[in-house]
């Protein structure tokens, strides 16, 4: 790491703007995790750019003392793609919500993922439209009663991790707002990854969708429901790691280790070039209800969009020299009158 780089503290990444989320909102925790992480990361502060859409979560850039843009609803991934393509030296973060990324911005999200542009996409999934005060979102569970679904939502929800894997994202992870240690690990891996990194945060909206993730957070149930994925390790969970995941003919299944033996348990391979097993793991839970995988589903290498873009420019310049305007104007033939 560059030794010239200033030693930062979390305060260096805090802007002078008052943070205005509801007290108790999960967004505070994620903000703190990101600021703390960036102070340790060792990339110059001026190289970070935070681009967000619209939503409670999308206020995030205002609170970061970095370059930032609070843009318009759904378009952050597209705008950030332009930032990253224009200047590949920057570290570009996208802050988005479940409505922002998956409803209005769904198209931009999947295309950013397939292109593998160097973006770190943090999706704050609270399974609700927070800013507009509590309508069901594309990740809300069927049957959810909200102001726009008084008899229960009839929309079938997206599973954001499945969606990202379906778009062949090269880095796909999931973490929990309040699990700061895990968040830090995931952020570090995402920062390390070249290409698009997609992180789904389960984020509690204590005002409009409180306890949506209670099965993963409450002391009584969390050990039975948090299934951590660690590359190279068998996928085990439960208070005493008594449960495990096996990939069977119909997909991922939960098994008791004592019954099937540790050798049948799937050893997690985030580097698998094919996304099939990662996809099967993402199907384990919906919601999140019951055992839910957290961690890095997929972390593979694929050429990065900006590298290819710059590569073509360099190749063209090697072949034709750097462009000369006078030559260009004459490139389709000329004649002279006198």
């Amino acid at each position: 790491m560059n030794i010239d780089i200033k030693q930062y503290t979390r305060a260096d990444f805090q802007s002078d703007q008052e943070v205005r989320w509801c007290p108790g909102c999960g967004d505070y925790t994620i903000l703190a995790s990101v600021q703390t992480f960036l102070a340790e990361l060792g990339i110059e502060r001026e190289k970070h750019v935070f681009i967000s859409g619209i939503g409670c979560s999308s206020r995030f850039p205002y609170y970061m003392n970095t370059y930032g843009m609070h843009s318009i609803h759904g378009r952050a991934a597209a705008i950030a793609s332009g930032v990253a393509a224009a200047n590949p030296d920057l570290t570009v973060w996208v802050i988005t919500g479940d409505g922002d990324a998956l409803s209005i911005g769904g198209n931009h999200l999947i295309h950013a993922l397939r292109r593998n542009i160097n973006l770190k996409i943090l999706l704050f999934n609270n399974q609700i439209y927070g800013l507009t005060k509590g309508q069901y979102s594309p990740t809300s569970e069927q049957g959810k009663r909200t102001k726009t679904s008084p008899m229960g939502s009839i929309d079938y929800p997206f599973n954001p991790v499945s969606l990202a894997l379906g778009a062949e994202a090269t880095f796909v992870a999931r973490t929990l707002d309040m699990d700061r240690k895990h968040t830090a690990e995931i952020l570090a891996a995402a920062a390390e990854h070249r290409g698009t990194a997609f992180i789904e945060f389960y984020q509690n909206c204590n005002v409009f969708n409180d306890k949506a993730f209670i099965e993963l957070t409450s002391r009584d149930t969390r050990d039975d429901n948090r299934v951590y994925l660690d590359h190279g390790k068998p996928i085990l969970f439960g208070a005493d790691n008594e449960f495990g995941i096996r990939i069977g003919p119909t997909g991922a299944e939960i098994v008791e280790v004592s019954k099937v033996g540790i050798d049948s348990i799937q050893v997690h391979n985030a580097k698998d070039p094919e996304p099939g097993v990662a996809f099967a793991l993402s199907r384990l839970s919906h919601g999140p209800h019951g055992p839910t995988p957290l961690g890095i589903f997929r972390d593979v290498e694929r050429p990065v969009y900006e590298d290819l873009m710059v590569g073509q420019i360099e190749e063209a310049q090697a072949q034709k020299g750097t462009g000369d305007l006078a030559d260009l104007l004459r490139s389709t033939g000329t004649w002279t009158t006198n």
């Binding site: 370059y67 318009i72 597209a78 990253a84 224009a86 198209n107 000329t334 006198n338």
Partner: protein, 624 residues
């Protein structure tokens, strides 16, 4: 292969000062190519010229039908011409549908050259002919010559290695060869092009060359083709010329504009007729460091451009009407962020999908007002293919000097038609280098919305610059600091400041050039691609003794500061537009006068005759 045919004894051609030729055929017949190549060799020969391609909207309209007819018109002259011509003197019809679709446009007595092989029962029926017009005397008002183009192309290609159905693909080169004979065009430029395009040893090159020569030789030997014509080189002002189409000139204008601003160029775009070839052209020019991003839709096209602008690039996005509609929200964001951005709308006939390949100027009011909130934007228009280069540079200049998105209005006619362009000296082009902000502007602080007192532009500090970290966004912001602010007075102040900034551009607009009889009671006021027809119509009217003035407005918002003076004291202000009177409405609102709107909404440019006829009528009214 050499063009020894050219040395053959040719009867002395009749010298003519101008001719309008239309190549017409099925969209698969390669008429655009034949027309373009005929144009290129005329350009090399030194004629002045103007072209007008016309394609069917459906790429695969049923072969042989009227809907499938594609044409390319070229006007060549030995003097300075402006328009592609109102009525062709000569039509090449590759099939009955091409004849039927174009006959009504021809001059009385025009020359018609037909590919007689295509005039069979099936094709006649598809074109809706009940009897064969070549036999039933219905064409007696014209001079008709026939050539068995398909049969002769087949014969010519024997031995080239090209076989089967591919053979007939060369028949456009037969037609081109024949026309080159008829109008005394050199074959060399076409031969060179064929070899360059298809490769010296390729069978396709051999086939096309063989067809080209066969067509030329047919002219020499066949009866009826011995009355040939020659248009001498034009006395254009001294200089070096190229034949340029509007979209290419626009693409080059972006490259030149970025160079003048000393910034890397970024284009975010999504393909749409008739704007696509700007994206295609820039994608070819990577060695200029141009980054082209073919986005997933128009919103991402302009979104990526806004991101690139934030990151310090000269950012542009290209589209046509439907795409402009999709971009509207993001353009408002760019306006709010006060970032430079060039939005190019190559207008086509709308609304909705409308007539994608046909011209219209109907996005003017959309460009003016098509955003939510108070969001005025500068608008620059392009008057002709050759004008596109400097108009685009002007849009870049305004965007970067004033830190604002600019809408540049082109249209489908400018996009695809071409004319000779006297090349500027690259060293003499305007420069307007951008200075990115690298230091705090308020003690130790950086205030992203502190403005230049004269231009009201805000500083442009880009990510990567240490110490100037700041946030921008779509929410209303406090004056100077840019922090989110909801105070009532601040919103009014900011709204007024943003409007005043656009107004400040007015001071930068050069005086209007009034052509013709400057003090005339009659002024024709135009904008955009109506330029050539208006200018030609006014010229003709003046030749016939009418007193008329003409002004073509490039800056549509803000309007030039001297426009009020130019309008003052006229009895009639005629505003011809390819829409339902949008500019006339703007002029009426701005100057409280009643201009006379001349609206044409047929997907086609004005003809010079139509403008002249309007002027004649106005003169009759005034004098009676």
């Amino acid at each position: 292969m050499s063009s020894d045919t050219e040395t053959d004894a040719r009867p002395t051609p009749e010298k003519i000062d101008r001719v309008v030729i239309r190549f017409a055929g099925d969209s698969g017949d390669g008429m655009q190519l034949a027309g373009t190549q005929f144009t290129a060799s005329s350009a090399m020969f030194g004629n002045d010229l103007a072209t007008l391609p016309n394609f069917p909207s459906e790429i695969r309209a049923p072969a042989g039908t009227i809907a499938g007819v594609s044409s390319f018109q070229v006007h060549i002259a030995d003097w300075d011409i402006l328009t592609p011509g109102d009525h062709p003197d000569c039509l090449i019809a590759m099939n009955p549908a091409a004849l039927k679709a174009n006959l009504h446009d021809l001059k009385p007595g025009a020359l018609i050259i037909v590919n007689v092989d295509a005039f069979n029962e099936r094709n006649l029926a598809k074109a809706g002919y009940e009897s064969n017009p070549l036999e039933d005397d219905s064409l007696r008002a014209y001079h008709v010559l026939t050539a068995p183009m398909e049969e002769l192309t087949k014969k010519a290609l024997a031995g080239t290695g090209v076989k089967g159905r591919a053979v007939l693909r060369s028949k456009n080169f037969f037609a081109l060869g024949l026309m080159s004979w008829m109008y005394s065009r050199p074959l060399k430029p076409v031969e060179d092009w064929i070899v360059k395009k298809f490769g010296e040893d390729s069978p396709v090159a051999a086939a096309n060359l063989a067809a080209l020569h066969a067509g030329y030789n047919y002219g020499i030997t066949a009866e009826g083709f011995h009355h040939t014509f020659e248009v001498e080189p034009a006395a254009l002002p001294k200089g070096e010329y190229t034949n340029i189409s509007g979209n290419i000139a626009t693409a080059w204008g972006l490259i030149a504009g970025a160079r003048a601003a000393n910034l890397p160029l970024f284009l975010g775009s999504y393909p749409i007729t008739p704007a696509t070839s700007i994206l295609e052209e820039l994608a070819k020019q990577k060695h200029f460091g141009v980054k082209t991003f073919q986005a997933e839709d128009e919103i991402a096209g302009v979104g990526s451009a806004v991101g690139a602008a934030f990151a310090g690039n000269l950012a542009a996005t290209t589209t046509s009407g439907p795409g402009l509609a999709l971009k509207s929200e993001t353009i408002s964001l760019a306006f709010m962020l006060e970032l430079p951005l060039v939005v190019i709308d190559v207008q086509r006939a709308g609304p909705s999908t409308g007539m994608p390949t046909k011209v219209e100027q109907s996005d003017l009011l959309f460009a003016m007002y098509g955003r939510h909130g108070e969001a005025p934007l500068p608008i620059v228009s392009i008057a002709s293919p050759a004008d596109a280069f400097s108009a685009t540079m002007e849009a870049v200049r305004i965007a970067t000097k004033f830190m604002t998105p600019v809408i540049l209005l082109s249209d489908g006619y400018i996009a695809n038609s071409s004319e000779p362009w006297k090349l500027p000296n690259v060293e003499d082009l305007p420069t307007f280098p951008v200075t990115l902000t690298t230091e705090p502007n308020d003690g130790d602080e950086f205030l992203p919305y502190a403005r230049d007192p004269e231009t009201l532009a805000r500083p442009w500090a880009v990510p990567g610059t240490p110490g100037l970290e700041h946030r921008v966004g779509g929410l209303e912001k406090q004056d100077r600091t840019g922090n989110v602010a909801y105070e009532p007075e601040n919103h009014q102040l900011m709204t007024e400041l943003r409007a005043a900034k656009i107004d400040a551009i007015r001071r930068d607009i050069p005086p209007i050039k009034v052509h013709g009889d400057a003090d005339s009671k009659i002024l024709v006021l135009g904008w955009g691609s109506t330029f050539s027809a208006i200018r030609a119509g006014v010229l003709n009217a003046r030749r016939n003794g009418r007193s008329v003035a003409h002004a073509q407005i490039r800056h549509l918002n803000p309007l030039p500061p001297d426009l009020g003076d130019v309008l003052e004291g006229r009895e009639v202000i005629l505003i011809p537009e390819l829409n339902n009177g949008q500019f006339a409405r703007m002029i009426r609102a701005e100057y409280l006068i009643a201009p006379r709107s001349y609206a044409k909404i047929q997907g086609e440019p004005f003809k010079a005759d139509e403008i002249e006829e309007q002027l004649n009528e106005i003169c009759r009214e005034i004098n009676s």
